[in-house]
Every structure is written in C-alpha cells, then in structure tokens.
Subunit: 392 residues, 5 copies
C-alpha cells in the first residue's frame, strides 16, 4: 500500500508550523506526513492543491480545520497551524500577523486554564454586565486558538481583497468615462481587460463570501469548527471511560461513550453548544458584512460598465444615423447636380440642334437647367423632411 | 495592550447621547471609550465606519444593538442611544424626532414599572379586547426603549428614501419621453446619469429592505434585539443567584445559571419569548412593506427605462433602414441619370459620327436616351419592390 | 397626545360598514376612530393609504385583518367589514357581492352556534363521508365570517385581473403581428405602450399572487387570520379566568392564562389548529392557482413580445444588409458607367487627337469603351460574389 | 340556494367513470352532480375548466384527488376515476391504458383484502429480502388504486410530452443551421414560430415538473394523496367509535376521534405514515427525473437558438461591415474617376485654350490626368488601410 | 403477466458484475433479470436507459443504489456492482479502478467482520486521537463497499470532466482572442461551436454537481444510501424476530418489527444514524467542491466569451461608423468635384457663349470653378465637424 500512496503524493512541499505562542518552524513535508499529523483523509488535502488556487473553502474535520482562503492555505488544529507556501508574497502579511498577535493573545493562557474554560466564562459573563473595560478585553482574548487564527486569516484576506477592489475602482471610472467620450479600439481594449479583471475579482470575493454565508447558515457546521472544545470533550470522556473501564462496565456503555465522544455529548450539553456557536457567529458575521460590502462595490462598478456600454451602443447608433442623414443630404444635392450635368451634357452633344445657332441664350439655358435641378433638390428634401427622415 | 489599541483607534469622533427622556449630550469619544461603554467587540464598530457609508446593517449584541441605517449610525442600549455624527444635515430630522417623541412616550414610565412589565402586559391584553381607546394607545406606548428608537430611525430613513424616489420619478418620466421623441447626445447623457442615480438608490433601498427581511426571517435574531428584556432577565437571575449563593449551592448550578442568563432561560420561557417577538415583527413588517413599495416604484422606473431603450434601439434601426431606402431610391435614379449622361457623353465625343450631320434628330436622341434611362430606373425600382426592399 | 394624533391623521374618509347579515352603513371616520374601533396600531393603517395603491397586502393583527387587495381596501374583524372608498367604480362589484352573499350564507347561523362550532364540525366530518349533498354544501357554509369576506374579495379581484389580462391578450397579438409585418414608428409606439401596460399589470398580479403564496408558506400566519376562532378562545379563557379568579389562584397561573389566550393554547390544541388551517389553505390554494394561471398568461405574452422584438431586430438588420447589397450592385454598375463616361469624356476633349479624323470608328470606340466597362463591372461583381458578399 | 348553484354551473359535460376493474361508463354530469359525488368544493372544480387548459395541477382533497395533467382532467377517489372529455384525441391513450392495466393489476385484490393491507405489507417486506421475483412483482401490484391511476396518467403525459419534444428537436436543428447559413425572411419566420412552439412546450413541461417537485418537497401533501389509506382509517375509526358510543363515552373522546380520523391518527401511526409516503415518493421521483430530462432537452434547444441568434447577429453585422468596406473601395475608385472626368471635362470646354492647338499631346493629357487620379486613389486607399478601416 | 413484461423489456444488454474482492464476470441480462436480482421497480431502471445518457442521477432504493453518473451506469448493492455497457471507451478506466482498488481495500475484511463493525469503529475512533498513521489509514478503509464503489465512480467522472474542461479552456482562449482581433465568418463559426460545446459540458458538470448537492442537503436521502448498514440491521431484526416468534408474540409486535426493519430502527438508533451520515457527507463534500471548482472554470470561460462578444459587437459598430465617416468625407469631396464638373460641362455646351471668343481666360475659368468647388467642400466639411460627425 505504501508504494501506491507514495506514487500518488509526488514530492514534498514547504510548510510552516505555528504554535499558540507564535513560535514558527519551517518543514518539508509530503502529503502522507501531513495526513498522519492532522488526521484528515487524503481527499480533503486536495482543496489546498493547485486546482483550487482561485477558490475558497473551509472544511471542518474531526481534529482539524482545512482553510483555503484565497492565497492562505493552511491546516489549523486546536494546537497548531500548518501553513502551506509560507514564503509567497501575498502570504507574508499573514505570517507577520500570526507572529505578532498569537503570542500576545495567548501568553496568559495555558493548557490547564483551557480545561477550566467553563468556569472562566461564567465569571466573564458576570463581568460583562458590570461594564468594566477589562471584562470586554477579556472576552475577546477568550477566543480559542483556532478562531484566533481564522480571524487573522479573514482579516488579511478581507483587506487584501478590499485593496484590490479599491484599486480597480480608482482605475475603472476614468477608463469608462473616457470610453463614453470617445469610442476607440484602444479604449474598448482597456474596458475589456477591465471587465475580465472585475469578473475574476468578483468571483473570488463571492467565493469567500459564499463560504462564510454557508457556514453561518448551518449551526452544526459551525459547531464542528470548535476544535479546542472537541479536544477537551474527548479528553474528558476518555478520562471518564478509563475510570469506568476500571469498574468493568458492560459493552453497551461503549456505544454510549462512542456517541458522546463523537457527537460531543449531543444531548446533555446541547444548550451549551448553541451558546458558544455565537462567538463564531459574531466573528463570521462581521467579516461577512465586510465582504458583502466589498462585493456590492464590485457589483456597482459592473452596473456602471453595463450602463456605459448601453450608452455607447445607443450613442454609436445615433451617430451613425446622423452620419447617414448628412450623407443623404449630400446624395440629394449630388442628384440635383447630376441632373444639371445631364442637361449640360445634352447640349454638349455634337448632334445639330437649333439652339446652337441662337446667340445670347447661354445664360438662360444654364439658368433654366440649374433652376430645374434646384427645384428637384428642394422637392426631394421636402419629401425627406415630411417623412421625418431629416430633422431640422 | 493599551498602546496597541490606541494606535488602531485613531482620533476620537463626535457622538450624541440620548437617554429615555430625550435628554441629549454631546461627547468626543474614541473607539475604546465606546467599546467600554456599550460592551461590544471592536470588530462590530467597523460597520459604523466610512467603508459602510452606503450600506445598512442592524447587529444584535449582548447589551447593545448597532444600527447602521443609511446615514443614521447609532448604538442603542436598553437605556441610551449613542448617535455618531449627529450634526450631519440628513441626521438632523432624526435628532429632532428623538427629542420630540422620546420624552412623550416615556414620561409615565420609570424603571420600577419596567420590572412589572409582565403583569402590565396581561392587563393590557385584557384591555385590548375591551376596545377602549386608551388601551390601544397604551399598547403603542408599551414598546421598550430600544424599539422606540428603532421605529423613529426607520421612520426617518423610510421617508428620506421615499422622498428621494419621488424626486427621481418626477424627473425620470419627462427625460425618458424626451429621449423617445428625440435621440440626441444630450438626452442620452441625461438618461445615463438618471440610470446611475437609480441604480445607486435602488441598492440603498434594497439594502435596508433586505436587512429587515433578514431579521423578520429569523425569530432568534429578533429575540436578541429585546435589550430591555435581556437586561431585566439578567438582573433577575443575578438576584436569584445571589440568594442562591448565600445558601451555598453546588457548582453545577452555576452552569445552569449561566445558561439561563445567557440564553435568557430558553426552556422555561420559550413560549413567552416567541410571543413578544410579535411586537417587533409587527413593527418591522409595517416598514418592510413600505420599503418594498418604494423598491417596486424604483423597479418600475427601471422597467420603463429598459423599455424606452429597447424602443429607441428599434426606432434608430428602423429610421436607419428608412434613410437607406430613400438613399437607395436616389441611387437608382442617379444610376439612370448617369446612364443618360453617358449617352450624352458619347455624342459629345469629337470622333466623327454620321448622326452629327443629320438635322432635326436632337430631340429624338435626347428623348430616346432619357426614355431608355427611365426604363432602366423603373426596372430596378420594380426589382427592389418585388424583393420587398422598398415599400410603398 | 390627542392634539398630535389629530394633526397626523388629517381629514376623515368615507367608510362602509357591513355586518354578518349584509347590512351596510356609510360613515365618515378619521384615522383615530378606526384605530379605536378595530384595535390596530396607526402604523398598519398606512397600507390602506395612497402610497400602496398599486400594492397588495394582507396583514393579520390581534382582532382584525387588514386587507389591501388591489382596489379593495378593507379592515375585517370577526364581526364586521369596514370598507374604504366604497363608492369607487371598481369596488362596486365587491359591495354587490357582499350584499348578495353574506346574508345568504349567515342567515341560519348566529352567535350561539359559533360557540358550538366544534361539535358542529365533528358532525359535518361524519356527514362528509356519508356523501350526502347537504353535507358538502354544509361544509362550505361553515367558513367563518372573515373568510367569507376574504373569498368574496379574492373572487372579485381575480376576475377583475383576469378580465384585464384577457383584454390585454386580445389587443396584444394583432399589434405584435402587425409590427412583425411592418416596422413603423406608429407600430413601435403601440408596442411600447402595450409593454408598459403589461409590466404594470404583471406587477399587480404578481403582488397578489406573492401575498397569497407568502401566507400559504407560513401556517402560523394563516392561523393568525382565524379571527372568529381567536375571539371565541379569548372569550372562553376569560370566562375560565373569571371563575378561577373567584377561587383565588396564584399569580403564576396568570402567566399560563396569558399564554393560552394569546397563543390560543398552543400545546393542548396544536393538532386542532393545524387541522383548521386547512380550510384557509384550501381556499387560498384555489385562488393561488387561478392567479398563477393569470400570471403565466401575462408571461407568455411577454415572451411573445420579446420574441417579436428579437425577430424585428434581426429582420431589420437583415433588410439593411439586403438594401446595402442592392446599393452595392448599383455602386458597381455606376462605377462601370463612370468609367465609360470618362472614356467618352476623353474623346470629348477639344485637344487634337488623330482619331478625330478617322471616319467610321465611332461605333468601335463606343463599343470598346462599353465592353471594357462591362468587363470591369463583371470582375468586381464576381469578386463580391466570391467573397460571399453578394448572394444569388 | 339551488337555483343560484345551477346558474353558476352552466351546462353539463361528458364524463367517463372507471372503477378498479377497468369497467367504464359514460355520463352527462353537471358540476353539482360531480361535487356531490366526490365531495369537493365547487372552487376546486375550476382547475378542470378551460382557463387551466395549458396548466397542470394536482389537488389533494379529503376524499378525492383532482388531477389536471395537460389534457388529462380527472377526479380520482379511492374507488373510481371520473375522467372529463374522455373522447378527445389525446386522451384516448389514457383511456386505453386504464382499460388495459387496471383489471390486470386489481383482479386478485378486493375490498376485503384492502382492509388486510397492513399485514399483507409486512409479509411482502419479508419477501422482498428473500429475492424471489414474485415478491418484487408483488410489491409493484401493491400500489393503491389512486396511484395506479396517477402512474398511468403520468406515463401517458410524459410520453406525450417526450414525443412532442423529440419532434421539436428533429425539426429545430435543420431550421437553425439553415438560418445560420442563410438569413432570409422565410428562415427568420420559421425560427420565430419554432421559438414560440418551444416556449409553449417548455411552459407545459415545466408546469408538470414543478407540480411534481412541489409534491415531492412536502411530505404532508403526499400523505394527503393516500386516499385508500384515509378511507380505511376513517372506516376503522368509525367502527371504533360505534362500539365506543355503545359504551357511552364522554364527549371529550369525540374530539379525540375526530382528530384521529381527520389527521389519520397523526401521533400513533406517524412512523407508519412517513414510511408509506416512500411508495409515492419513489413513484413521483422517477417521473420527475424523466420530466427533468425532457426539460433539459428543451432548454438545450433554446440555448442553441440563442447561440444561433447571437451568431446571426454578429454575422450580419460583420457582413455589413464587409459590404461597406467594398463599397468604400468603390467610392474611392469612383472619386478618382470623377476627378479624371473633371479633367477631361475641363478640356471639353469650348473656351479657347492654347493646348487645343498643339498636336500629339492628347495621349499625354489623358495619361497625366489618369496618373494623377490613380495617385489620389492610392493615397486615399493607403490612408484607409493605415487607419485599419480596410483589411487586406 | 410475464408475457407483457417481456414485451416491455426488449432485448437483453451486456452487464459486468463485480464483487467485493474485485472479481468480475460478464453477463447478458434482460431487464426482468436485473429487476429480480436487485429488487428495484422497472420504473427506476429507466434512468440507465438511453434517454438519460446526458443526465446524472443517484437513486437510493431499498436494497440497491442506482448510479447514473455521466457514462457510468451501474447498480450497486451491499455486495456487488452491476455495471452496464462495461466495454465502452470511457467506462474502461472505471473498470480498471474497480479491479485495482476493490481487492486492496477489502482483502482484510470479511462478512463476519462487518457484523462487528460497530466495535471496530469505537476502537478506530480512539486510535484516531492517538495520531498513529495506521488509524488514519484504517478509517479510510472502513468505508462500506457501496461507498468504495461510489468514490471510485466519482473519482473517474470528476477527472474525466476536469480533463474535458481543461481541454476546452486550452482551446477557448486562443479562439476568442483571434475573434477579437479579426472578425471573420470562420472565427465566428469556431466560437459558435465552442459555445455549444461549453453549454453541453456545463450542463453535464452542473447535473452531477446538483445531484451531489441535492444529496448533501437531505440527511435522510444520504442515510438511505447506507446499503450495508441497512442489510445488517435487517438481518439483526430478522434474527430478533425469529427468536421472538418462537416465544409466540402477539401480532402487534409484527408491526413494531416491520417498522424497525423498514425505517432501520428510527427511534432507538437515531443518534447513531446521523453520526454515520458524516462519512458519506465528507466523501460527497470533497467531490462537490471539486465539481464546483470545475463548474466555476466553465462559467469563467463563458463570461470571457460573453465579454468578447460584447467587445466584438461594439468594435464592429465603431468600425462601421469610422467606415461611414471616411465615406462621408469622400462623398463631400465627390460632391465638390461634381459641382466643378457641372461648371466644366456648362462651358462644354455647344450653345454660343461670349466667353468662347475670349482668349486667355481658360485658366481663370478652371481656377474659378475649382476654387468655388473647394470652398463648398470646406464649408460642408466644417459643418460636419461642427456637428461632431467627423472627428479630427
């Protein structure tokens, strides 16, 4: 089996590991090492692969959460972050933020406290109503490790996308107004490239936004992301079982144990559960609104592009009609002149004509022909105006 | 930690504080002061920032509700409103309404009554069926402080949006009819700016409407907005706990307390809960319908714009075809005249021709050539009509 | 307070009151009288105002239902209908139907029977299976007063909309076929006004349909509309409470009472509830299907308009190409003739040429020039055909 | 009351009655007879009327199901089918199928067995796992009468729609390819009529599909369609009540009875219920997929039409540009010739010129003029090519 | 009955059977043999028929799952796969994968172990937290047979679709850029065929994606797919019943048994159920994301096509206007020359004129006429530029 697995995995890639205190290390791991380390099936590792480079997904698994937000590709467990491609240009701010904020937030917190988290919370809830600033700050520091990482990741991605959109906006309006003023191949090319940039950016923002909305819609999925809680619950139930095992329980209790460990004690603590999903819900809600605002900005740029294109289309059509109207005027005039030329041509024939011998009529002939042509010109012009084909 | 917080917060901004009795005070607060005062995470304060200036959101938090409705940016707690940028032009009517209506509604109500709210309600329900006008008025005065503020905010925003839409409508129809009559660059420019105004206004109305619809869809979110009720429940449960604590309860009761305070006693009073969400539901429903009507008006203007553009497009196309048809008529006639001119040109050549010596045929030659040309003209014209290219 | 209320309400309006037996009276009421009479907040009365003239809403309130279906603006309680603007042209059929059908349906029913409604129903259910016609008729007469009124209103509105759609359809197809045959400004204008009529009518039908669908989707909302049932339940619980009060119950029972009266005894009778929503569901379902059919008819007219416009667009484009093709043919021919004219023009120059002295070549020169021109004509024509620019 | 009913009903219509064994009879019934026979309100009978001729609906009522699938308009009870307009061309296959399949399926089943249906089912479930072919066949024969009829109706309607779509497809592709090759009024007319056929057919398929999807989405609605089961449960509860009545129970038990008969014993047998909805779910699922496939075929034809129209539009535009380019070439050439003609015209003037007396320059003058004109031609052509207006 | 069945079934088709250990056999079966073998109604077999060749469906039935994923048409039971048309080109990789992976995964597992699956799982869950690689591998091998097959099928189909999309992408961008550079009938034809390929491919990817999404949305449907579990539960309940039967239970217990076997013990083991749906959910989620990514790629190609077409449309319109502008320039120039020609023509008339006798004025006449014409040319050109019809 191992040979087959190796063949599939290909070469190893560069990962950076962070723990709670912001300590980082670089590793070269292949797929199977990662799978062993974080306990997820190989199938789920694919979403960190190159196929999903433009996509965004957050997967909740038993002991880890697989985060693929734009350029941030990481696996977060209750105790550490494994970050893929940590040296890419866009990922650096994320690495910086992790180094800065993690030690700060977790310096006073250690494993023993985590188990006492429950009592802790009761106290902080009380304090919360007392309106002391420390309590509020305290609440924010209370977020478990995995959500600290998630918030930093969302922060970095949101501001990255926001700055991209701002740049797009700054660029878009002048280009579009230029097109509205003057339709030229160069301007059209610029608008076209603007549109494909916009479409690509919109798809990316939308993907992150939809992923967060999807999480917000499903309380169960959010509960799955509480890795620290799940770990503590597992440890507690294991401790319980060990003590129970020493008192020789019947196998049917095994099933009970399994259930409570796996579903994290669904019956007993169900109220407790919903409760704490609220922390994550508030976290995600804030970033959802930010991304929704970003998306609305892009959509309004797209509306502006569409409106400009409609305008340009009608404008071009209208200009064409005006060109043709002028041309029509000239065509009518040319027709009259051709008529006059024909008359002159007749009298230029060398076939004998009695008029050729009468002096002093040159002016009258020219005058007569020209007057006749001018009359025809006026008649046709009047007809065209009567038909509303030529305006004033 | 405090130095880092300060750096983030930047300068302080102007806030106006209202209490229940409409008393207002102006303050210069920075972000951290606000956070301490109302107990919300810094993250949630962002939606009052400049990025969300065109957006609308209502966030329910533990002790406060963050209201961002168009230009109204405020934090409402059970006891006071903190209003951001209270001196902006559009915000003034809101300030006026708060000053006028709050003292009026709350003058007979004081804190001791709020705790008795429950009994109060039973009595008012009875009274309600008795059909005395006082009862009805009474019911309306019963709304808790936070919803009084919310209603005033919705009222102000709805009438602001409505007047904007009315203005847009008054402006739009003449502009569009003018375009339908006469396509010109100037009219096109006016329709284009009309369209982008409309799109922006629609986005704003839609945002407020969607936010209210979102709240209406989720009973739990609405329940979170009952700040006064949550405060009373917290006070009651604290009182209970203090008395319990003096009787030395086991820690497991702590958890129970926490649950009931945090989730506002989800099991015991769940029926009671759903019940009172109805007040807010009725409030929001009425404004939702108003905003929906406003939105439908904008949409019908947009439909009219689209129809006009379709009309203009087909009209321009049709006019062009008529122009080309007239041009074609002239082209056919010109062709016939060119033919006749050619014939005349032949006889204008100085190369000897036997006809040059025959007298009296001048008229016949001209007549023959012209007749031939006219015949050609009629043939081509007939062909074009037979092909349905030229109409009658 | 009363002065402020009056200022808001403005003048009084004309209302018509109907009771169960079809007896009607005309009244001049202002807003506050109505609010006192039916016990709804002023906020809800707005949907009967002029802003909502094109909108449709059905609001369920504690003791009344506010019905705004197209032109029918009424407040229905368990015992009477208050109809706004009863003398408008479109409302008259509704008034007629109320006068005709209400006394007929309620003549055998009086208040005492309503309280016995429950037993009544059991009997009718048995009878139902027995397949006697009386039982079926009986079931239909069983509808409470508010639904009798609602059904008459839906009936009147549906047939009004249906006849409007039928008229639109009758008008639309000839106009569109005329446009497809002959694109002219007049026909375009007619289609444009047809489209805006259609859009307006569609919006109205859609609004009524959506409102009914919305009700059908939410069993709770439908249950709120059972005004008669809520009234009886309130009366019963009040009787119960009065007797209980005389036996001095503890306050906690008050809460129970309140709950059961307000939520209509949600636990005990929840099965009973769902059950009777079925009557309303069946009623609304039938009208929903009718409105859905009406809407589909309008949509199919719109599809036809869109298809016709697409057709006209392509047809105009195609005709233009054919016009230009014919023009191109003539341009080629004119070019050849201009060439021939040039040749003739050369020989019309007065500059001495040796050919001028040779007799008998006149025909050859003309023939040569014309043949050369014709050759050029054929070459260009062949080139155009080879390029597929000119068809056969 | 009866006179009013009659007036509403109008004339009687032709119905065909089938019982379980496929025995059919023809009747002339008016609306009121039908209403009495099957126990549905007059309101529901409307969906079989002419207004709904293009629509599809399935209504579940207490004792009957009203089926309006395309041309099949029938009322199905637990014991018989009443088929409207049984002699229409499209309905005949349905009549044939009913005659063929009903006796076959029900010959071994009689009323006494139906009551024993429950035990029966247990046995067949066991048999099912035993993998004997009879068991499988047995399961299929187990469908109650109303679903046998429903399946035959769906079968007939699906194959009818499918054959219509197949015909449309066979017709559509050649017409569209012909249009892409050659845009002509005739081809445009054919595509236009193709499109309106397609739109109509799509609406019909969609309507049937949506109706089935709607049923599949709502387990309660599906449960309502189990007419046979509801009949048996009613009979059982009635028997129970009769025996209970003979033991003089208190009225409160009446309510219980009513509930269990009406809601078919919702609590006790709720598991049993869900279970059997599966039969209908499997039945509808299979036809839903078939209709979904049919719909996808139509949609792909529509996509093909849209793509072809886009292609034709761009193609016509492109062809027009090419036409104008050729015309421009000719215009440039004509301009050059006009210039040359002008030069010749100058020397055709009878005003004395010194060149008129020099022999042998005729050729040079012609050559010079023509060379000059040709140079102008080349200059303008080069300018047009430099501007990218004329291609190679 | 059998004769009718045969007639319906038509000829037999080629099937390949795989068991757990990857052993395959080829069979010629007709429909009725398949129906007997896997116990599904004939109706469900249709989705493997030719009508559904472009569609994708997964049907969960009592003892089998009918899989129609693109080209893979198979029936999977808890113990074997029946694969239709196993020799088609596209199906071969699926056959290969089945042969390779099935024996590998199931070699250590046999029927007796399957019954012990429950205990097994408990152990593996413990192991999971222990972070030993074997545990993780173990978890993956734990998937029941039907999901092993499903995963292989999804794997094969996803990579097939992905490679198709990659090919399409590779082909699309050059074709579209070529069209943007040069609009020609050939390029248009290529884009048109690209579009219909894309539409077809999108429909296929969408169908598979929607089917998986549909499954993911409905936990009950996913639970139905656990064929192995359902089989074990059936066997256990049968064993239980047999022992119960030997103790002569009352018939009412039959019903209980029936329920628990059919609904797989919905009450007792409901927690256990939800739990295991998670395996399938994780499996489907991973492939859903992959298909969603594939779909997004196609959609972005379609966006690019739409943008290119918009660009080409505006570009063609703009080019046409430029063509017409150049033509207008020439028309104005031609008009001036025609005027000049007319003047020359006048003096070419043979009618006596006093100028004919004055020497030395030839140049002045030519100069005067030409100057006049040039002035007219400049006037008209200036007018056109003033009207913004001709640019610089």
């Amino acid at each position: 089996s191992s040979s087959k697995v190796k063949k599939k995995m290909g070469g190893s890639r560069l990962w950076m590991k962070f723990d709670k205190f912001g300590e980082s290390e670089l590793f070269e791991w292949d797929k199977s090492s990662i799978i062993k380390r974080v306990g997820i099936p190989a199938r789920d590792l694919r979403i960190l692969g190159p196929v999903f480079s433009q996509s965004s997904n957050i997967l909740a698994r038993e002991r880890a959460m697989v985060v693929n937000l734009e350029f941030i590709k990481a696996i977060v467990t209750a105790e550490e972050v494994l970050l893929l491609e940590p040296l890419r240009q866009e990922v650096l701010p994320f690495v910086d933020q992790l180094r800065q904020q993690l030690p700060h937030k977790n310096q006073a917190m250690n494993k023993s406290e985590l188990v006492n988290d429950r009592d802790n919370k009761v106290r902080s809830t009380e304090a919360q109503w007392a309106r002391t600033p420390e309590a509020v700050e305290g609440e924010q520091q209370e977020l478990p490790f995995e959500f600290q990482v998630l918030e930093i990741a969302l922060e970095v991605v949101c501001s990255y996308l926001d700055s991209n959109v701002a740049e797009l906006e700054k660029h878009a309006y002048p280009v579009l107004d230029e097109l509205a003023r003057n339709v030229s191949t160069k301007n059209l090319e610029r608008v076209r490239s603007l549109k494909s940039n916009l479409t690509r950016l919109l798809a990316r923002v939308q993907k992150v936004r939809d992923e967060i909305e999807h999480l917000l819609d499903d309380n169960e999925d959010m509960a799955h992301l509480y890795l620290t809680r799940k770990l503590i619950q597992y440890q507690q139930s294991e401790a319980l079982m060990n003590s129970a095992a020493s008192h020789s329980l019947v196998p049917s209790q095994h099933a009970l144990h399994r259930n409570s460990s796996h579903r994290s004690g669904s019956i007993m603590t169900s109220n407790y559960w919903d409760d704490d999903v609220e922390d994550l819900e508030m976290l995600l809600e804030a970033y959802f609104m930010q991304l929704d605002g970003t998306r609305n900005k892009i959509l309004s740029v797209r509306e502006y592009i569409d409106d400009t294109e409609d305008y340009v289309n009608i404008q071009l059509d209208n200009q064409r009609n005006e060109l043709i109207q002028l041309q029509l005027n000239l065509t009518i005039a040319s027709f009259a002149i051709a008529l006059d030329t024909l008359i002159a041509g007749f009298f230029g024939m060398n076939i004998p004509c009695s008029l050729y011998n009468i002096n002093g009529i040159f002016g009258y002939v020219i005058g007569g022909g020209t007057a006749f042509s001018f009359l025809i010109f006026l008649l046709i012009l009047g007809y065209a105006r009567w038909k509303k084909l030529l305006g004033s």
